[in-house]
Every structure is written in C-alpha cells, then in structure tokens.
C-alpha cells in the first residue's frame, strides 16, 4: 500500500510542474498590469516602472519563473502584491473556511444522494423514483448563487433565524461559527446532491439488474439486506469517484457561494487576486488547488477497495 501511495505521489510531480508552468504563463497572458492596478488611474510612468522593479516584474519571464518555482519548492509561495502578506499563510487561512463548508456539505450531499439514489433505483418507475429524479433535475438546473440568495432572504431576512453576512472563526465562538456556516453548507449540499443522486440512481439500477442480486433474493434475503449488503457497495463505487472529483473541484474554492454569504474563503481570495492581478496569490492558489485535487483523488482511490475489493486484487 505504501509503495502504491509513493508511486501515485511521484506520478503527480510532472502534473504539478505542468500546472506551475501553465499557471505562471496564463496569468501573465491576461491583459492588465499589477503595478497599474496597485497605483490606480493617476499612475505615472516612473512610478509604474518603480513598482514593477519592486515586484520583480521587470526581469525576464524565465528568471521570474525559476525564482518563484524555486521558492515554491521550499514551501515559500511569496508575498501578496496587494496586501504584502505571505501567500502560503493566506491560502491556508482562507482554505480552512472553504474546507469547513465543502467537507460538511459534500458529506451531507453524499448521504442524501446515496439514500435517495438507491431508493429511487429500487422503486424504479414509481412515484418515489419520479419525485427523486424530478428533485435532482431541478437541483441540477438551479444556479448556486440564486439558491443561496433565496435561502438568505428566507432564513436570514424573512425568518431571521440565521446570520448571513460575515464570518466568525471557530476559535472565537464555535456556536457563532456554526450559525454563519449553516446557510452556505445547506446551499452547497442541495446544489451538489443533484448530480450525485443521479449518479447513484444510475449505478444502482445497473447493479440491481445483475445476477447476484437475483441470487441474493432467491436465497431469501430481506430486501434491506440485499440493498445494504449487496447493492449499495457496488453501486456506490462510481459515485465515490464523482464525490472525489466534486471534492477536489469544490475545495479549490466556491467563489460564488463565498461571495453571496461574504465568507472569506479560498474562492474569493482567488477571484479577488485575479481581479487585482496579484500574481503570487493566483499562482499559489492554483498550485495549492492542484495539490488538493491530486491528494483528494488519491484518497478516493485508496477508499475504493472498501467498496469494491476487486480493485485491490487487480
């Protein structure tokens, strides 16, 4: 197992190098000079040149890249052009908030999807199936910002049950932190449960038609035992892959939800940094996201044998 993990991690190194090069070049291809953004509309040529020199942007691109990448390999992602803060610390601080929302929301979404998809497949072409498929389709079609605003207006404004502007860290008040995270978590849970439910339902239908399920029923097992012990593990494996992809994608930032609920998460940090052409932060965020993506997918792969022992045998 350890060898497998090491091999997988080694294989990710070329990917991360490619990501680093691509990120470095792409952000510089977008028009807009960070020095101009920093100095504003009245900037004169001398000040712009001075700031560019301060930031090292006047050096040749390869020199800039190797300087940044060399530091990144040593764990130093540089300092933000805008705030002057260390990028690594800033990313970790913002990532904590995103991770809290995403992990809880994806866990809830997976639980809902696993149950709803399995039941819909089991009761295929009945009113229950129709209701689950209909709900999943509606959820898939609803944009997260719209859903977020509706929940904000309903539970935040009309009913006044929950706060919706700002954020309190767990270290300050765990209770307040939970309250501030309820609406973003609910929004993301609903949004993500749609696609997971569809996937779980489809794979469950496939598994329910297999011979060993018929055999299990013929043995006289209860429907509950058939579903839980025989159908669920096999049907859940493809959904787990999707959960991994979703997690990796969402941990890279949920900018829309973070903007609607004023959460200072990784997505907002990235959007703000792109709009300010804060190169070190954008580069750091994207590299960090790539690492998260790789790690999450590795973890998902390692979980596979729990549901499908054949994976280990292969």
């Amino acid at each position: 197992m350890l060898g497998y993990i090491c091999k997988r991690l080694l294989l990710t190194l070329p990917t991360l190098l490619l990501v680093a090069v691509a990120v470095f070049l792409i952000i510089r291809l977008i028009p807009g000079d960070p020095a101009v953004v920093l100095l504003g509309e009245g900037a004169d040529a001398a000040s712009i040149a001075g700031v560019r020199a301060d930031l090292g942007l006047d050096r040749p691109l390869p020199v800039q890249f190797f300087s940044w990448f060399g530091h990144a390999l040593r764990g130093d992602l540089g300092r933000s052009i805008v705030s002057g803060e260390p990028v690594g610390a800033s990313i970790l601080q913002h990532f904590g908030i995103t991770a809290a929302v995403v992990l809880v929301a994806v866990t809830f979404a997976t639980l809902i999807a696993a149950a709803a998809g399995l039941i819909a497949a089991w009761r295929r072409n009945t009113a229950i199936d129709l209701a689950v498929v209909g709900a999943a389709t509606v959820v898939l079609a609803v944009p997260s910002f719209w859903l977020g605003l509706v929940l904000l207006l309903l539970f935040g404004l009309k009913l006044g049950w929950l706060p919706f502007v700002g954020y309190v860290p767990f270290s300050e008040s765990a209770g307040q932190a939970v309250l501030f995270l309820v609406l973003p978590v609910v929004t993301l849970t609903i949004t993500e449960s749609g696609v997971l439910t569809r996937m779980m339902r489809a794979s469950s239908i496939d598994v329910l038609q297999l011979d060993y399920v018929t055999h299990a029923r013929a043995k006289g097992l209860s429907e509950r035992a058939v579903l839980v012990r025989h159908v669920f593990p096999n049907a859940f494996a493809p959904t787990l892959t999707l959960v991994g992809l979703t997690l990796g994608h969402l941990l890279g930032g949920i900018a829309v939800i973070e903007t609607v609920f004023t959460l200072p998460g990784l997505g907002r940090l990235m959007v703000d940094s792109v709009l300010a052409r804060d190169y070190p932060v954008v580069q750091g965020c994207l590299l960090f996201t790539a690492v998260v993506y790789v790690v999450v997918n590795l973890l998902v792969d390692l979980c596979y044998p729990i549901f499908d022992p054949r994976v280990t045998a292969r």
């Binding site: 977008i30 028009p31 807009g32 000079d33 960070p34 101009v36 953004v37 920093l38 100095l39 504003g40 509309e41 009245g42 900037a43 004169d44 040529a45 001398a46 000040s47 712009i48 001075g50 301060d54 805008v82 705030s83 002057g84 803060e85 639980l111 149950a115 399995l118 039941i119 089991w122 605003l149 904000l152 207006l153 935040g156 404004l157 006044g160 049950w161 929950l162 919706f164 502007v165 954020y167 008040s173 209770g175 307040q176 939970v178 309250l179 309820v182 429907e223 509950r224 579903l227 839980v228 903007t259 609607v260 609920f261 004023t262 200072p264 940090l269 703000d272 709009l275 300010a276 052409r277």
Partner: protein
C-alpha cells in the same frame, strides 16, 4: 420500508440537532456594544495612507490620519492639524502653526518633528506616495526644504509659487498627506500600522472580512461643526466596523435585517427593492466626479475633429444621465462638475443632439463606416450601461460603435497606455476644477493617458495651477471649457450623486461632495 424509516429518523435527528445548535449559539450571543457598521464593497488595499490605495482605502484611512490641512464641504481648504498658516509674498514659503493639543494614537503629542518626518517620508521615492509626481518636474512645484524652527511650527519652501499646494495636501487620494508618528514604520522603513491623530484608531483589519476602528479617547476635535474632512470631527460610537460585503443583494438584505447600519456609495441600480422603505433613510448628494467618453485623438479614425464632434452630437447627455442614474445624476458636458462653485453659465452649456449635423460631419471627416471600438468595464455598472446607451445613440447617425468589455485591470492598463479608440471612464471626485482638467490635459509622450495635448490647453492649465485669485481662475476655466467643447478630446457625460442608505436608527450621517464615507459625527439611537 426499513430504509425509509431510517431516513426519516435521520432527518428528524438532523433538524433537532440544527435547532439545538442554533439555540446554543444564540445563547452565547453578546449584547451589541455601541458599534456602527458600514459596508465596503471590497477590502481596503493597505493601511498606509496615500501609497497602496484605492477609494475604499482612502475613505477608511481618513478616519485614522489627518493632514496639516483638509478639504472643506465646499471644496476649499481648511485647517486640520495646523491651526493657521501664512504664505510668503512670493508664494513659495508656507509656515504652518501646529495645534498644541493634538495627540497621536500612541499618546505622544504632535510636534513639528513628526510633521517634518512624515512629509519627508512622503517625498522619498521608495514610499511610493501617490502624489509624489505633483512635486516632481512636471508637477506644481518642487519642495526645496521642510524645516521645524520650533516644536509647533513647520516651514515648507517650494521652488516656485504654487497656489495648488494646500489643495494637493488635502487630496483624499494623497491620503490627505496624513501625518503619522514615526513608530508607524519599522527600522527598515517598512510600514507597520497607522499611528495617526484622527478621531478613530485602527483596531483590527481582518482581510476580506472587516476593518474595525476604535474611538480615540484623547482626540482633540476642532471647534465648530464638521465641515468636509475638517471641522469638529467627533467619534460618537465606540467602534466603527467596515464590513466587506462584495454582493450588493447581500448588503441590502443585511441592512434591512439590521446586520448593517450604512451602505455608502450605492450604484443607482442597487436602490431597487429597498427604495420606499420607512425604516431606511435615503441620501443623495451631487458629487464632483465625472463620467466621460475618452477619445484617442491620435487614432487615424478619430484624428479629425469633425468625427469627434459628430460622436459628441449623437449623445443625448440628459437622456443618458436620466436612464443610467435613475434621476440621481446631473448631465454635464464640462469637465467642471455641476456641484463645483466654478460651474457657471459657460460650464452649464449642454450640447444639443443633432443627428443630421453628425451625419454631415462624419461624411466630411472621412468616416468610412468601419466599426470604432468603445472600451468599457463592468466594475462600475454605470460605465457599462453608458457604453450600451452611447452605442445605440451613435447608431442613429450611422456611426458603428463596437463595445469591448474588459475587466478592470485590463481597462486601467489600456487607459494608462492610451491603447483604445474610445473609452468610457469615470473619474473620482476632484475638489478643485484644475484637478478635473488635469485628468485630460498633458503631454501624451510622457503620459499616454492624457487625451488633450495641445500647447494652448497646457498653457491654460498651467495658469490654473499658478493662479490663486478665484475670478482669474474662473476666466481661465471658462476658456478651457469652451476649447474643450470645441476640440472634443473627450465627451463629458454627467456627474453622479453620492447615494447612501442608512437605517433609521442612525443619526447624523450626511453625504458631501466627496464620495468617501465620513462616519465621525454619526451615532446610533
């Protein structure tokens, strides 16, 4: 059935747990301290006045730092840390008498040593002071010396007379040339925190969340009522919190809910849904900003003044202003804003739309029907809306405009480099008309962002910088306005209003011609 039963049980448990969590969290809520909460649509850039800055940064920091002088409500300059000043007969030597009762936030008294240190620091190139160029070769004057003959007197000597000197010191984008204590800066010259003399001191800046200011208990207010950025600046709340809320819908909901007390600088379109509510107060004050269409006069398609005039003749400034500002703006074709005391009959002239004449001029100017690109940005919704309206108006005269929407950094970079044909651009409030003309007039070789580069305009502009007498300045401004309308290096569209919405519990909030938030003198019922 069993699965369904388990799910039901889980759902009930989930709801109960959520209810308990809410109740538990609510039980821990602390009664609200005297705290005033205002919205910022984006985070501040730094706490270093006049250096790494934007409008939000200026607005917040002017609660913390103060300069020798500050802008009054009418745009003139009034005393702040200097109780009075005198100017030598040749206009070069400014002698400031400091107010003896002023203290810094660290408890140290204000003396001329700190003022000299602050001013010299601003003039060092490595400080990257926004207004350094004003005291450079192309600026109003060079600073020859700054000295302190005694602990309460500061003398600044310029290389030539500069009537705009005090106005420049008071500019918000220059950080009000705020005087800070040397302990604000580390030994290596890096910035630590602003130790100023303002009515509020910096409490906590939590990036992308809030900036919290605390009342400075030792603040020595000037006598009299508040007046622009000067006058009696009394902190009437213990804490002031600028909440960073990028989404306007969330901000409006927070205001209605009571999680926010003030939304400043609303776009007219953002009034939707809250206008008419009795628990909110609406304020609209005309400000000294300006929305324009800049014209790249060196572009082959726009070199001919007849083509530029034709573009101007297609734009119905009154209709455009009404549509975009929802009645909260003033149509104006002069660079001098409507709210300026220098806006008189010459400046009040508005071009009448004349499509037939525009067609004639386009033909005479050799316009061949090719699309002309109009650059705009969505950062300010009014800029994008203006581009759409202008495109439609121009089409009536057969002028084909193609809108090129870019994000703000790209927009700003193209503005600075002058790489556009037409560009919708807004300029923040300038309290002196010379500064309003200054955004247009200049040497294109040195500053490609300048659109009006003629010897006469530059000569007249220099006169506005060298003349102190209001009547003489008015005459020069009138001439500049006439020339501007004739030569059409840009089309000024309108001046907007400072729109604010505050909860009815807020007392004393009052907008003024500058668009910055001003939360001293404001309290809560």
């Amino acid at each position: 059935m069993a699965v369904a039963h388990t799910l039901k049980t889980l759902a009930v448990c989930g709801v109960l747990l959520l209810g308990c969590a809410i109740a538990w969290a609510r039980a821990g809520e602390v009664p609200r301290a005297p705290l005033l909460r205002a919205r910022l649509n984006s985070d501040i850039v730094s706490t270093n006045p006049g250096t790494r800055r934007d409008e939000n940064t200026d607005g917040v920091l002017l609660h913390i730092v103060e300069g020798l002088v500050a802008s009054r409500e009418d745009g003139s300059v009034g005393p702040m840390l200097a109780s009075r000043w005198s100017i030598s007969a040749d206009g070069r030597v400014y002698t400031f008498a400091l107010r003896p009762e002023v203290m810094f936030h660290n408890g140290a008294p204000l003396t001329s040593a700190e003022v000299v240190w602050s001013l010299k620091r601003y003039l060092k190139p490595e400080t990257r002071w926004r207004c350094l160029e004003v005291f450079g070769p192309t600026g109003i004057a060079r600073v020859e010396s700054i000295s302190a003959p005694d602990p309460h007197t500061v003398v600044v000597t310029l290389d030539r007379a500069a009537p705009m000197f005090l106005t420049t010191l008071a500019r918000a984008d220059c950080g009000g040339t705020g005087i800070t204590h040397p302990a604000s800066v580390a030994a290596d010259g890096s910035w630590i925190t602003p130790i100023g003399t303002g009515p509020f001191q910096l409490g906590e800046w939590r990036h992308n969340q809030f900036v919290q200011l605390k009342r400075f208990p030792l603040y020595a207010a000037l006598p009299g009522p508040r007046d622009g950025n000067t006058g009696g600046k009394h902190a009437l709340v213990d804490e002031l919190r600028f909440l960073i809320i990028p989404d306007s819908s969330a901000a409006r909901a927070a205001l209605v809910r009571g999680s926010l007390d003030i939304i400043d600088n609303l776009a007219p379109s953002e009034l939707m849904g809250i206008r008419g509510r009795t628990d909110l107060q609406f304020q609209s004050v005309p400000i000294l900003d300006c929305y324009t269409v800049l014209i790249q006069t060196q572009d082959p398609a726009l070199q001919d003044v007849r083509v530029r005039t034709a573009i101007a003749l297609t734009i119905d400034a009154v209709g455009l202003t009404k549509a975009i500002t929802r009645g909260n703006g003033s149509a104006n074709n002069s660079p001098i804003p409507v709210a300026s005391p220098f806006h008189h009959s010459v400046e009040a002239q508005l071009r009448q739309v004349n499509v037939a004449k525009a067609r004639e001029l386009l033909k005479a100017g050799g316009y061949d029907g090719h699309a002309i690109k109009l650059v705009t940005s969505r950062r300010d919704p009014q800029m994008f809306d203006a581009a759409v309206v202008i495109q439609a108006m121009a089409a009536e005269a057969g002028l084909q405009l193609q809108i090129d929407t870019v994000d703000w950094p790209a927009h700003l970079s193209r503005y600075i480099a002058g790489t556009y044909q037409l560009m919708v651009q807004s300029f923040s409030a300038r309290l002196d008309p010379a500064l309003s003309f200054g955004v247009f007039i200049g040497d294109k070789r040195e500053e490609p962002r300048k659109v009006w580069d003629t010897p006469r305009s530059r000569e007249l502009f220099d006169q506005t910088l060298q003349t102190a007498d209001p009547a003489s300045r008015q005459a020069v401004f009138d001439t500049l306005t006439r020339d501007f309308l004739e030569e059409v290096p840009a089309v000024v569209l309108y001046n907007s209003s400072h729109l604010s919405v505050v909860r009815s519990a807020v007392i004393g909030h009052q907008n003024w011609v500058s668009a910055q938030p001003r939360l001293w003198g404001v309290s809560l019922r």
